[in-house]
């Protein structure tokens, strides 16, 4: 039986290469920050550059969602309508990530 492969979509293939100039200090700093995130320097620079102008981050939204879920689980029995409304408000913040 032929195994299927998970292929990256054409639009997500990284076919372009560019180089950037950095000072020794900048290079060390970028490497350190990428390592702290568990990312390659390339992925770190791309993610930071592409999403840099965005005030909300995935980590922030996930933390907020987890706090909301916990609060809603306490409220659920007493006020289920409010739970739905709160979850919708949090979901509006998720739209900011896109």
């Amino acid at each position: 039986m032929k195994m299927q492969k998970h292929l990256r979509a054409e639009s997500e293939r990284k076919g372009k290469v560019t180089s950037i100039r950095l000072t020794e200090e900048q290079h060390e700093l970028v490497q350190k920050k990428a390592k702290e995130k568990g990312m390659t320097v390339s992925s770190y620079i791309i993610t930071t550059a592409v999403n840099g102008g965005n005030a909300v981050t995935p980590e922030l939204l996930v933390s907020l969602q987890n706090i909301t879920n916990e609060a809603c689980s306490v409220m659920e029995e007493h006020d289920p309508d409010r739970v739905t409304a709160i979850q919708q408000e949090v979901n509006e913040l998720w739209q900011e990530l896109a």
Partner: protein, 131 residues
């Protein structure tokens, strides 16, 4: 004891993710919980998982890892089953979005089983999950 099945090679892209979230949260789900996603609505959970994937430019590829934990007969009530499901989900939750749902017996051993759906892209650094 519990029997654990891991479905890690899933095909069909984001539609598979949507189908899986809808499947595990359907009317058979007796307890639903989530980390990094809204557990009350599978469509919102899907949007939130896709938002992470878009952020890191990884909407294609393997969309999820699906784990099924089937408990043996020592687990006799939904609260205990849900607690174990939560503990399993927490293991992944510090790096990945997770939706978990506990069902009564329908095809595995014991009285209850928990489905755990994990977004394969980490919300911390965009890395794909390694199984």
């Amino acid at each position: 004891m519990a029997r654990i099945s891991v479905i890690r090679n899933t095909y069909g892209g984001s539609q598979y993710l949507k189908n899986a979230l809808n499947y595990v949260t359907d009317s058979r789900a007796m307890f639903v919980g989530g980390y990094g996603v809204n557990p009350c609505d599978p469509n919102i959970s899907y949007d939130q998982m896709m938002a992470i994937r878009r952020y890191f430019g990884k909407t294609s590829g393997n969309p999820l890892v699906h784990i099924v934990v089937a408990y043996n007969n020592q687990v006799q009530d939904i609260d205990t089953a849900a607690m174990y499901g939560n503990q399993c989900a927490q293991y992944f939750a510090n790096r990945f979005q997770v939706l978990y749902c506990t069902h009564a017996k329908d095809f595995h051993c014991g009285n209850f089983h928990t489905h755990i759906i994990i977004n394969s892209v980490s919300y911390i650094n965009g890395q794909m999950i390694q199984t």
